[in-house]
Symmetry: C2
């Protein structure tokens, strides 16, 4: 078992120095907080994670959640996490004081949850879903619903869930069939089935509050006819006692990873006795859900980045302790009497470690950057600023979900490789991270869905205004880099990358303009990958700039080596990862059309 | 569970048409065989695999091998496989008649084992290791050793193993410490420990014959002092009874994948009563082992390609049956009343399927190509031809091991993604293939070790003669493509890729010439990746040529669609994969040096 799971200095450097949380704290809403108090909050979360989360990660994998006689059983640490985490305010962090919250910026909450994810990625989902569903009720539900459900959720006594997917529909929400039948009372009767419901039921949850997408009878077809309901496992009587609400757990899903985090198949109203209460207006369910979905997607990216971080720490620790082989520098005169070197001294091992570092810290930076935009969007009163950050956030959210999910899986794969055969063995944690992280490219909209969203909706939005705004932000960084001798060339490289992106967009837009959406979107996935490299390179250049500034100022918050390592890792990313855009451009603009004209009989 | 695991037509097309087994069968050694008889042999192996292998793959994962009270317990199907497989001659296929073999070409044996690997990758290793260690004894052992051990091994009654790795040494064989102490008798006393020994011990093996690398007392330091020994679990008395040989199973390794294939930690001679018999000459052990290691490495590639094939078949089956979403071609006028389409109709799903097909069949082609070279090398009497195929084989073997291991892992990852959330669930087989295949980049020399071998030894060998010979072979294909209108441009592209490779080699060789091996080899891994794309593109162009020829000849061995699909998949590989060499060239020739000058303190 590795000794640690996070480089907390890097997290704080990014939060406080690179992404300058201070700017957000200027807002009156956050006047009670300071960088010092938030730094202390992170320390207390780290302490909690050290004690209550990290020690259980392996055990939660080895003794997975299971389903028996209608009930789901999870590891007992889930109960401890929900109780103690609730007491600490972890699930209420971003809520306003009058909702029982800590009124923290989203950025700070993301940083705190990143620590938890890195410590034990099987636990934070229970809290995050509870927080997310409580947010839906607070934002769109009636005061009555808020009073009834939110307080118990924010302290972790009641679990919250999001119920979207159905067996026949998968990613295609327009095809959901769960019905809501109006009654003469305030409630609807709910009938249908939902699958892949994380935290959907378990023995320790006093109640489970499901936020369910369903169609009111007679609603329009497609996504326009979807409404949102609160459907508790137990109805709450006026005296506070419970009545079962005919929400049954039909089965669970046994998974390759995140095995401590239960996933359920739920049935609503099989004996016609399931009540649901409408949230907000009828037929607005998907709009409400998607307002939350954006931050949920950033959170998926955060989780993946955190697993990548934990795997990197474990691989780094191993590489610094394991002797094996001789240095390549002596290859010409190999001397078997020479002592073995540590594997971190082999260039290829270093390459694998730098690759992990560059991906993981790049992914974290994207998560914090989008989280900051989220904070600005939700606090600014300036209309123009609101529009700007809304567009930037819309554009970057699918990337913030996808890049960490895909690239950190590659990163973890490299961490496994650093350990050699031991990486494949269950005595070491790496193989678990390898399994755990695989779900992130599927959660909350697969990579394919995110890529269609990015190219099909976000790039084309308002005539490409979001991309133009992003280019402006990147050019600010390039301008700053131009002033620093050792960074200037990387800024220039980035400027040429932006031109490539624009060339590819112009090429693809031809097809969109002709109404040939299939051709336009066929390689959306590759476009996602290409834009991701550019965005992460931008964020790395920004980190290098900040590090360089700290060295110049002789700021000793962290060591000089710490700052230098940021510049080195930026250079690594520009050498090893960014050049991939050249090949992607070649493919994206290739004349051969393979995947749309081909009939399926070509595939054997 | 998927219904099938292999496209047998593609295997036969490659073996008989593309790689023309017929040419090998011309050799007198194989005069009893014909393409028809070998096709029938493959059919019988397929039937055997359908019945005795494929039905058990999931169960072998769910009830993994385990260690208890000094014994390893494996699934009972291991016993059936070794017995029935032995009776069929599966493990004796390549041996000469007088050794009890079927005297089949290596190519044909590889094709037959590919079927078994695809059916259930947890089983063939038991046979392959037995076959490999018997080969070592036949090639280098005394007649006495041959008579004593080989017959029982070839029928699967006795298990064979290869014991190389030790806890303190890993990939660095020069650091092994297992000792062989000469006695006054014919045997040595063996003392030491070996780890990661596949098939090292289990309840059904009547005896286990270990081929052990050890150092005779007083031997030279380093790899030069390594000898090879036969060390049985039970010594065979003159009357055929057994005496325990003080080989103890200390523990097993529990793994993330291939859980039915046991991996052991063995102790030799802890009470000083372990006898070992020298194979061949003292201090030649590593040479002997490496002669076998080359075919073992091709076999690792074969196993990875086979898992990729099985995963592709499962994903393809799912994509052809699962309805979800609407066609992108109607995106402008989405109509929710329209019926859902099958997911294979989505371009991105097709892209993922073509990617898998192109990687898996490309990998198979490389395995068969190198296997054919192996056959030529071992049958030709022409000295020049022998040198040529020896060099080609030396060059291509690290690629044949590495490309399938790395690229088919990516392929399986895409197969998981095709299934969406179900891909992550244990009810479906994909997640198992995802775990199983991860070991292949570690087996028999990691990707890092293979890459050092490729660039450091094979490319530089005889002043680059192996690369020149490969270029010649590729130019033959380019010349043939030039005659066919639709293929000509792909040939031209390939010619330009060869120039890129030569440019990169020339660039890197500067450093080798200056004795700067660290700089020369630091990015060997990327060079491996780059050369792999070119080699696989060459093999695809060759497959497309053969398919085009069959269409022209109206050969109806397979359908026209079957042949067309090969051309389409070649085009896919040239559009989506081959362009990656451009970026790799940029990185390989980049001025920044990150991984060799960096001190380890740069890595946090």
């Amino acid at each position: 078992m590795a000794r640690d799971y996070i480089d907390i200095n890097t997290l704080k450097f990014q939060l406080f120095e690179v992404h300058n949380l201070e700017e957000i704290l200027q807002n009156k809403k956050f006047e009670d907080h300071s960088t010092e108090s938030i730094s202390m909050y992170l320390d207390s979360v780290k302490e909690f994670s050290d004690k209550e989360m990290f020690p259980y990660i392996k055990e939660m994998d080895e003794k997975p959640a299971y389903f028996k006689d209608g009930t789901v059983y999870v590891h007992k640490q889930v109960a401890t996490y929900m109780k103690k985490g609730g007491e600490m305010g972890l699930f209420a962090a971003t809520f306003n004081y009058n909702d029982g919250g800590l009124q923290l910026p989203f950025m700070a909450d993301q940083a705190a949850t990143f620590i938890q994810d890195a410590a034990n990625n099987h636990l934070p989902g229970f809290g995050a879903l509870t927080q997310g569903s409580a947010e839906l009720i607070v934002n769109f539900g009636s005061e009555e619903l808020q009073k009834k459900y939110v307080p118990k959720m924010l302290v972790g006594t009641w679990q919250g869930t999001m119920c979207l997917t159905e067996p026949q529909a998968g990613s295609s929400l327009s095809d959901i069939t769960t019905k809501a039948i109006p009654t003469e009372n305030k409630y609807y009767k709910i009938k249908g089935q939902k699958i892949f419901i994380s935290g959907g039921d378990y023995q320790y949850a006093e109640n489970v509050v499901h936020l369910v997408l369903a169609k009111i009878e007679g609603a329009p077809k497609g996504t326009k006819g979807i409404s949102l309901f609160v459907v508790p496992k137990h109805r709450i009587n006026s005296n506070g006692t419970f009545t079962p609400n005919n929400v049954e757990t039909i089965a669970d899903f046994q998974k390759m990873g995140q095995r401590g985090y239960c996933t359920t198949h739920l049935g609503f109203g099989d004996v016609d006795d399931c009540y649901g209460w409408l949230v907000g207006e009828p037929h607005q369910g998907l709009n409400y859900m998607f307002l939350m979905m954006n931050s949920a997607r950033i959170s998926v990216g955060r989780g993946a980045a955190a697993i990548g971080m934990a795997a990197y720490q474990a691989a780094l620790e191993y590489a610094k302790e394991r002797p094996q082989g001789r240095k390549l520098s002596n290859a010409g005169k190999k001397n078997p009497k020479e002592k073995q070197c540590l594997i971190i001294e082999h260039p290829d091992v270093r390459r694998m470690l730098f690759l992990q570092k560059s991906i993981v810290e790049g992914a974290l930076s994207l998560v914090l950057c989008t989280s900051k935009y989220h904070d600005i969007l939700h606090t600014t009163t300036d209309k123009k600023e609101k529009e700007k950050y809304n567009l930037l956030l819309e554009l970057l959210t699918p990337i913030a979900k996808t890049f960490p999910s895909e690239a950190c899986a590659v990163s973890v794969n490299n961490a496994v490789q650093v350990l050699g055969g031991y990486g494949f063995c269950t005595d070491f944690i790496l193989q678990q991270y390898y399994r755990d992280i695989r779900i992130f490219a599927l959660y909350e909209g697969t990579t394919g869905i995110q890529s269609l969203d990015l190219l099909g909706r976000k790039v084309t939005m308002k005539n490409g205004k979001a991309v133009a705004l992003l280019a402006e932000e990147i050019h600010k960084t390039i301008k700053n880099a131009a002033k620093i001798e050792i960074l200037n060339e990387y800024g220039e490289k980035l400027a040429s990358e932006l031109k490539k992106i624009q060339k590819v967009i112009a090429f693809l837009m031809q097809y969109a303009k002709k109404g040939n959406y299939e051709r336009f979107l066929a390689d959306a996935n590759l476009f996602m990958e290409m834009l991701s490299y550019v965005v992460i390179s931008w964020l790395w250049l920004d980190m290098a700039l900040k590090a360089k500034q700290k060295i110049t100022e002789s700021d000793n918050t962290y060591s000089v080596d710490f700052y230098k390592s940021k510049i080195k890792t930026m250079q690594f990313y520009f050498k090893y990862e960014l050049p991939k855009t050249t090949s992607l451009t070649e493919t994206l603009m290739h004349k051969d059309v393979i995947t749309i004209k081909t009939e399926e009989k070509m595939l054997f």
